[in-house]
């Protein structure tokens, strides 16, 4: 069942590739604006790199969250998903996984490339990749709760940012912290472990919260 939901969402995303690409372009452009604006001051760029890349990743994932349930809600397929003979948590998990693959994985893959603009060492770029790989599932998981809560509301886009961005702060701190540690020449392991732990906690709790929020939104 999980397979079908993921497959369905991936196929839908493929049919509307433009949506997916716009998220990636947004990320690349926002990250690239900083080196262009600041100029070739390597030391400064290295210092701001972790924060800039991570904040851009948070904002880019906000862009795609609105679509997580909204399209299905408007054409009535979401209520059909609620009425399938399988736990709603599983449906939510499938949709969140698909969202991660569609919206976050491209960012994770492209981040080391855009990171080059900040004069990061090869090792640091790997840490950046690892921190995003561990951290972006948190963004999808927590974001899905916000997306479900703001479903069908007018101006849901702004509301979702207000709801979700504060909850992203731990991911931002530890994700950017890992990269920063690596720039300083220290071990990033502690930050990455905490990020991983946070991802597991998000995985354990957010699908239930999202499922409950969806039931309320669809009443």
């Amino acid at each position: 069942m999980l397979r079908w939901i993921v497959w369905r969402d991936l196929m839908l995303a493929w049919r509307r590739r433009a949506d997916m690409l716009s998220t990636v372009f947004f990320f690349v452009i926002v990250v690239s604006l900083f080196p262009l604006g600041i100029g070739p001051e390597m030391q400064l760029l290295r210092t701001i790199a972790p924060g800039v890349v991570w904040v851009a990743a948070l904002l880019a994932s906000m862009l795609s969250l609105g679509r997580l349930f909204a399209n299905d809600y408007h054409d009535g397929t979401l209520e059909q998903l609620l009425l399938t003979p399988q736990p709603l948590v599983l449906v939510v998990l499938g949709k969140t996984l698909a969202h991660w693959i569609i919206a976050e994985v491209p960012l994770v893959l492209i981040a080391p490339l855009v990171g080059v603009q900040f004069d990061l060492s090869r090792e640091t770029l790997w840490i950046l990749f690892a921190s995003l790989l561990l951290g972006t599932p948190i963004l999808s998981l927590i974001g899905s709760v916000g997306a479900a809560l703001t479903l069908g509301l007018r101006g849901g886009g702004v509301l979702i940012s207000i709801l979700v961005l504060p909850l992203y702060i731990p991911a931002l701190i530890f994700g950017a912290g890992a990269v920063e540690a690596s720039i300083m020449g220290a071990s990033a392991a502690a930050h990455l472990y905490l990020l991983g732990a946070f991802a597991i906690v998000a995985l354990l709790f957010s699908p239930w919260a999202t499922a409950a929020a969806l039931r309320i939104s669809l009443e």
Binding site: L12, R15, T77, Q80, L82, L83, T84, P85
Partner: protein
């Protein structure tokens, strides 16, 4: 609840159901018992709570009071188990614009645990009058054709309870006749159909109950 004589056991029981939307009470104290092979036509003016009633019956909406039981168990506690016996078609089609008719049909059924082969899906869509348009993205279909794609699910699902909300909107005469025969077959097989509609749906066979909601 075995009853002697000609009457059969009712498997869907609605007792003292009340519904409140916002600060308006749509209906209260609604009782209904439905036995296999029964067609229930829910009528009433706009805003009388037909859609809300169907959404309560399928468990999307929690009733303000009263309860709905299926085979003696409250549907709120049955949860997913209940959905193996229910097909609900709302007034939104539940058809994805980006997917073709055949993909829509196969995916929505797969998610309901019913695998539909490509061949079978072609047959079903042909029966629904969509032959030759199976592979077009649904956004290129007309409103009525999209409705037919949604209705095609009724031909492959093997659920006992059908809840159909305004499914006759934007359908032509032929399609209405098709839906009527689908429901007749369903009732003959011991199924239940609860239909909210403004159009009269005269069935040749089966028991028909009328439920009139007022504002």
């Amino acid at each position: 609840m075995l009853q002697s004589g000609r009457r059969t056991t009712s498997i869907l029981e609605v007792s003292k159901l009340g519904c409140v939307r916002g600060d308006r009470r749509l209906f209260s104290g609604l009782d209904l018992s439905v036995s296999p092979g029964t067609f229930v036509q829910v009528t009433g003016p706009n805003g009388s709570g037909k859609t809300s009633l169907l959404r309560i019956l399928c468990g999307l909406l929690a009733p303000a009071e009263g309860q709905v039981t299926w085979n003696g168990a409250n549907i709120r506690s049955l949860a997913e188990e209940y959905y193996t016996s229910v097909t609900y078609l709302g007034h939104r089609h539940g058809v994805k614009d980006e997917l073709s008719a055949i993909e829509n049909l196969r995916i929505s059924n797969a998610l309901n645990g019913v695998a539909v082969s490509k061949k079978r899906a072609h047959e079903v869509l042909g029966q629904m009058g969509l032959a030759g348009r199976e592979s077009l993205p649904a956004r290129l279909l007309s409103e009525g054709q999209r409705r037919r794609v949604g209705l095609a699910r009724l031909l492959v699902c093997n659920t006992k309870l059908w809840l159909l909300d305004e499914v006759l909107t934007s359908l032509d005469k032929g399609a209405v006749a098709l839906v009527r025969s689908l429901i007749e077959n369903h009732l003959a097989g011991g199924g239940i159909a609860i239909v909210a509609t403004h159009q009269e749906l005269e069935l040749a066979a089966g028991r028909t109950k009328r439920l009139e909601l007022t504002t």
